[in-house]
Amino acid sequence: VSAAVVRPVVRAPAAVLGTAGEPVDPCDPAVVGLVADLFATMRVSPGCVGLAAPQVGVARRVFVVDVTGHPKARTCHGAFALCNAEVVEATRWEKGREGCMSVPDLTGDVRRAARLTVVGYVPGTGEELKIRTDAFEARALQHEIDHCSGLLFLDRVAGAHAVYARRTYL
């Protein structure tokens, strides 16, 4: 097993960020390696609470999330990865400000469900996992699942005055 590597994060307008990701076999060793790289890349990126495969140039439905310690998080499942994840229930839509490592100079107001149920598959074991969460973790999951579908937060901003120049990236 090769060690996890930090991969370069691609930025819009890279075509891969607008490409719907292919489903993966969660037990594929290459997928397990990709997940390790996503974790490694997230860990070295200040303020990063999630990273999806398209952000490292791979159009596959895989992402990692970790909102541990974030002040806006309520429910928190720690650090985890999901393959082929889908939203199965979404309620309590709330507007919130989002940024993205792949769009480093802009932020935007996006409506997301604050109560969320997601089903996906655990890399390595292929076990089905159902995550029920809320607040910031729910937002992060929807943001990453969007990446896996080739969507950026820019595709969901609330209006013409809902994008902002980011003053500092963290």
């Binding site: 307008p13 802009l106 609330a158 209006g159 994008v163």
Partner: protein
């Protein structure tokens, strides 16, 4: 009461809005709707004001701001508009991709061809990324066909496009 449209564009500094508003207030011109932003660092303000002074008087008074050449001011008579009727359903149109000539032209032409009326627009160039966000009223019967047309235009331009119903925030 006449209605005047005023634009002020130029080098940004603190106090431009205060200067403009003071001059208008001094003439008894009532500032109604206005918008101001910075476009690539340039100060840009558009406003509508009402009052009894003719256009030429207001333009002459505001000319005091243009003496050093850092600001351009224009004043024009406009006819009062009736309240806008919302013939279409409000949508948010987002386009993003590599910067190239003609994105706004092609996307907004396609939108207009289906009767889509842009009510607000922001575009930004951020590094290599070009971003367009438009609020568009689209006739309900044409939403599907416009969505298909925009997908085709986006494909030709090599950009990503999304047309979504605007969120209605009702209490």
């Amino acid at each position: 009461m006449g209605e005047l449209a005023v634009t002020v564009i130029g080098h940004d500094r603190p106090g431009i809005i205060a200067d403009v508003a003071e001059i208008l207030a001094g003439l008894g011109m009532n500032l109604t709707d206005s918008t101001m932003t910075r476009l690539r660092g340039h100060f840009a303000m558009t406003l509508v004001c009402t009052g009894s002074h003719p256009c030429a008087d207001v333009e002459a008074a505001l000319a005091a701001l243009t003496g050093d050449g850092s600001l351009t001011v224009s004043v024009r008579d406009v006819r009062p508009e009736p309240d806008a009727s919302t013939a279409g359903r409000p949508h948010v149109l987002t386009v993003h991709g590599a910067d190239r000539l003609g994105i706004v032209a092609a996307v907004c032409r396609a939108t207009a061809e289906f009767g889509g009326n842009v009510t607000d627009l922001t575009t930004r160039l951020s590094g290599d990324l070009y971003l367009l966000i438009a609020e568009v009223d689209v006739p309900a019967a044409d939403v599907e066909r416009l969505t298909e047309r925009l997908a085709s235009v986006a494909g030709m331009l090599g950009v990503d496009v999304a047309l979504r119903p605007a969120e209605a925030d009702l209490l």
